[in-house]
């Protein structure tokens, strides 16, 4: 018994001394893009440049809280998130630093990066309309706003308003239409719901395929995944709001250099590399997202859905107006 205690004590003491050692040129990344989507890129970068990368994954909110608490002592050089809202918030709370880079300016379109250069989008997540090919003809569809029309009563499926993708969508709608009109649209959506909002896009599409509703709003890559699993799924994507100066709502997964980065140079080089064609194909392709770099064509699977015009407004608005959007959805009774 005593022997066991001693061993346990030794183990605990051993772990206590096991503080991490950092290599000099190493880049440390906090990422809310998951390991599965990001590790292959890091591995390739290390292979090409010899620079080791150390990373930790978590959701955006906790990563920001962590950066804030650690302050000047943070080990992190780069922050990667999967939505523009958290990037905007990180910049707003002074957790990132502006960088200027001709490479990034060339590779990332202006509306997908922070005007001050605090963060840069790296892949596009298009949030678009999905419809049942059995019960809806694409001629009936036109815009997000149109789903608020009474002719869709009892036919709309939506994901929860707690999804950051819906919060960004409504925030950009506020930027586009103004708060009153946006509130009317959201109220209309809620009135047209066929069933309570879903926890995720996949469940929403499964319900639609089973006949619970006819139209909905999802991120395109979830549809791609479902299609891969069930090639005959009776659903299709529609690109709404294709008029001049308008476009499909897109969110970005992106990155910024942290305010207290110990290795600013290494951090910037990594982000630049991620925006270059080779990495762009992998970064976006692994999850069937669209590359931000206009030089790079999307995956073959995505080409079959056709091309579309993106909302040209700066995606930073998604962060700036997010709290307002959440309040608007609360008032509209959108759960």
């Amino acid at each position: 018994m005593r022997e066991t205690y001693r061993k346990c004590l030794g183990l605990v003491a051993g772990l206590f001394l096991l503080t991490p050692a950092f290599a000099a040129d190493e880049v440390v990344v906090y990422s809310s893009r998951t390991e599965e989507l990001i590790k292959p890129l890091f591995d390739l970068y290390t292979k090409e440049s010899g620079v080791p990368i150390r990373y930790v994954t978590d959701s955006g909110g906790p990563l920001l809280a962590r950066l804030k608490a650690e302050g000047a002592n943070t080990p992190a050089d780069v922050l990667i998130t999967v939505d523009a809202g958290n990037l905007w918030q990180a910049a707003e709370s002074g957790l990132l630093q502006p960088v200027s880079s001709d490479v990034l300016d060339a590779n990332v379109p202006a509306h997908l990066r922070d005007p001050q250069g605090q963060w840069y989008g790296l892949s596009l997540r298009a949030r678009t309309i999905v419809y049942s090919t059995a019960r809806v003809s694409p001629d009936e569809l036109s815009s997000y706003e149109d789903l608020a029309d009474v002719r869709w009563k009892g036919r709309v499926c939506l994901r929860s308003s707690k999804s950051v993708y819906n919060q960004s969508l409504v925030a950009m709608m506020i930027a586009r239409l103004g708060p009153e009109r946006a509130a009317d649209v959201v109220k209309g959506w809620v009135n047209n719901l066929a069933t309570a909002p879903f926890a995720n896009d996949t469940r929403l599409m499964e319900a639609m395929a089973a006949g619970q509703c006819d139209v909905g709003i999802v991120n395109s890559y979830y549809f791609g995944r479902l299609q891969k699993e069930r090639a005959d799924v009776p659903l299709a994507l529609f690109w709404p709001n294709q008029g001049e100066g308008d476009g499909v709502h897109v969110n970005v997964a992106g990155a910024g250099v942290t305010r207290h980065a110990g290795n600013v140079d290494g951090a910037l080089k990594l982000i630049e590399w991620l925006s270059a064609p080779e990495a762009q194909r992998m970064f976006a392709g692994r999850n069937m997202e669209y590359p931000v770099n206009p030089e790079v064509d999307p995956n073959a699977e995505l080409v079959q859905w056709g091309s579309f015009r993106q909302d040209p407004r700066n995606i930073a608005d998604a962060g700036r107006l997010q709290a307002q959007a959440v309040m608007l959805m609360d008032r509209a009774g959108y759960r």
Binding site: F16, E35, S59, A65, R66, E70, N73, K162, R203, A210
Partner: protein, 560 residues
């Protein structure tokens, strides 16, 4: 319990002087006990204070908005959920514990341990499986539609009822295990005494046995309800809005960690008031065993009663464990070939190691608190111990922020100190080490370890310790020779609960783990964060499987 305030009877065969010396040595040791336990309580309380400190930065606009829109509904939803889960876990947990410890029916030996297994099932996993199976697009409703056309009479699983059912099935093992431990140590004496006094079997159960087991049952119920309050995963799957979803909305939606912490502190206050109320209702009642009696000989059920017992236990086992495991297994098989690699060994090792270390640490901490609580009843100690066990009711991520703020505060101070000697110093002390994570587990799971230990304490008669002291046994020796053996069941239960809970724990592990320390829960996060729920079945099933190991140990050690 205040041994030192009670008059000592003149010892037989002890000389009075020696007894007096013995007595003052006791007092000194009692005071000595207070120091480590107050320190321990301090460590646990600090992160909670960080949460309360959020009130220093008012968030009037968000509060006004919440009060105007969703707050009333959230509170109603949460209270409804609590009431439903409380009824559910009490009926299922106490009822099944009674059946498996005090009765004999077909399959009892199997159900005795099998009914603990759902403990290893994370709530969000069962929620996801249930939503998948019973929702509109799920196999059940699809089958019904194929045979009967459109069906409108099937209740919607994504509703209050669905959430309550899922949480009841996941959290009843807390009540089951603690009630079971109480019934096992309670012995036949209570029941027989009640029967001798002319009570029928039901009356004896409700008027003698149940009140005696009250500390244990309440401890189990408190754990189940605190988990219910803190849960975010399961309610998210059902898109059911509770107080905790509002906390996350404030944080992730409004970008206000302050408002989130303020909401969370209200949750803590609510739990604190509930616990204090229960204590005062319990009043001065004591729950000691009259003597260490023989264990109960089970009552053999016959005919319909026996089969009803088997069916009830079987149904709970099927819904809470077998069905989700089969569904998980089905999904896991699909991803087995692609997802399992060499890293899995490392992940398993980390999961087990963290669980075991946290269990050891937390049980030791809870034992110190419980001993102090028994020996000291001044207000400071009571309050400190009470607050130290609130961490379980906080949503994990909020608590993790509290822990992190404390730890990084220590680290930053340390770094500032070191830079006075060496300007280039960049090392760190606690952040990013296993110690940080263990501290977080200690704070979070103190209540889980404290409940079973304290409820077994409550059943130890002070006369035993008095007797020991009369025989000249010192306090430390009393712990070793009296408490530890009598508390064995409670300690084992506590260690098992903490071990399994730590292995399931996600938010604090994510936030505080050292680089590369991935666990099974982290794997589940990695997959579910991008919507790969089916692929998350593999780590989830592995989690359930290794959760079985400690359960088997407990069962073997406590077989009746």
């Amino acid at each position: 319990m205040r041994p030192d305030s009670q008059a000592l009877h003149p010892g037989v065969g002890l000389d009075p002087g020696a007894q007096r010396r013995e007595f003052s040595r006791h007092r000194a040791l009692h005071r000595f006990w207070r120091v480590p336990s107050l320190l321990l309580a301090g460590v646990v309380v600090l992160p909670l204070l960080v949460v309360f400190a959020a009130w220093l930065q008012p968030e009037a606009e968000i509060w006004r908005h919440l009060a105007d829109t969703v707050l009333a509904e959230l509170v109603t939803n949460t209270l409804m959920l609590l009431a439903g889960v409380a009824c559910g876990v009490l009926v299922i947990g106490v009822g099944l514990a009674w059946l498996t410890t005090m009765c004999e029916f077909p399959g009892r030996r199997f159900f005795d341990w099998a009914l603990m297994l759902p403990l290893a099932m994370p709530a969000y996993v069962l929620a996801f499986v249930a939503a998948g199976l019973f929702d509109y697009a799920g196999p059940l409703q699809t089958l019904l539609r194929e045979h009967f056309g459109p069906v409108s009479w099937v209740p919607d699983v994504r509703s209050a009822g669905g959430v309550i059912a899922v949480m009841t099935l996941v959290f009843y093992p807390y009540v089951y295990m603690l009630a079971r431990a109480a019934f096992l140590t309670q012995g036949r004496a209570t029941l027989e005494a009640a029967r001798t006094l002319g009570l029928g079997p039901w009356q004896a159960f409700f008027r003698a046995v149940l009140p005696m087991a009250r500390p244990a049952i309440f401890a189990g119920l408190a754990l189940a309800l605190m988990e219910t309050l803190a849960d975010f995963g399961a309610v998210s799957v059902f898109n059911y809005d509770t107080f905790t979803t509002a906390i996350y909305k404030a944080w992730f939606g409004f970008f206000s960690l302050q408002a989130a912490a303020q909401l969370a502190s209200l949750l803590l206050l609510f739990v604190g008031v509930a616990l204090v109320t229960e204590r005062s209702l319990r009043g001065r009642a004591r729950f000691h065993e009259a003597r260490h009696s023989a264990r109960a000989r089970p009552q053999r059920l016959r005919g319909a009663a026996a089969w009803a017992a088997s069916v009830a236990a079987g149904l709970v086992f099927f819904l809470a464990f077998l069905l989700p495991v089969v569904q998980l297994g089905n999904w896991a098989l699909q991803s087995l070939a692609t997802d399992i690699d060499a890293r899995y060994v490392e992940i398993l090792l980390h999961t087990l190691l963290l669980g075991a270390m946290a269990a050891l640490l937390t049980v030791a901490g809870a034992l110190v608190l419980a001993v102090t609580r028994r020996r000291q009843s001044d207000h400071l100690t009571r309050a400190a111990v009470g607050v130290a066990t609130l961490g379980y009711a906080l949503p994990g991520a909020v608590l993790a922020v509290g822990v992190m703020v404390v730890l990084t505060g220590v680290d930053n101070a340390w770094a500032a100190l070191m830079r006075m000697f060496d300007e280039q110093w960049t090392g760190r002390l606690l952040g990013g080490t296993v110690v940080a994570l263990l501290l977080a587990y200690l704070v979070r799971f103190m209540a889980v370890a404290f409940g079973p230990i304290e409820s077994s304490f409550a059943r130890i008669s002070p006369s035993i310790t008095e007797a020991a002291r009369m025989l000249g046994v010192g306090p430390l020796e009393a712990v070793r020779r009296i408490y530890l053996p009598l508390l064995r069941q409670g300690l084992l239960t506590a260690a098992l609960l903490v071990l399994v809970d730590v292995m399931k724990e996600m938010p604090a592990t994510l936030m505080l783990r050292p680089f590369g320390w991935d666990t099974l829960a982290v794997r589940i996060f990695e997959l579910t964060a991008e919507g790969y729920w089916e692929r998350a079945a593999l780590p989830a099933l592995t989690l359930v499987a290794i959760g079985l190991v400690p359960i088997f140990v407990l069962v073997r050690r406590s077989a009746r």
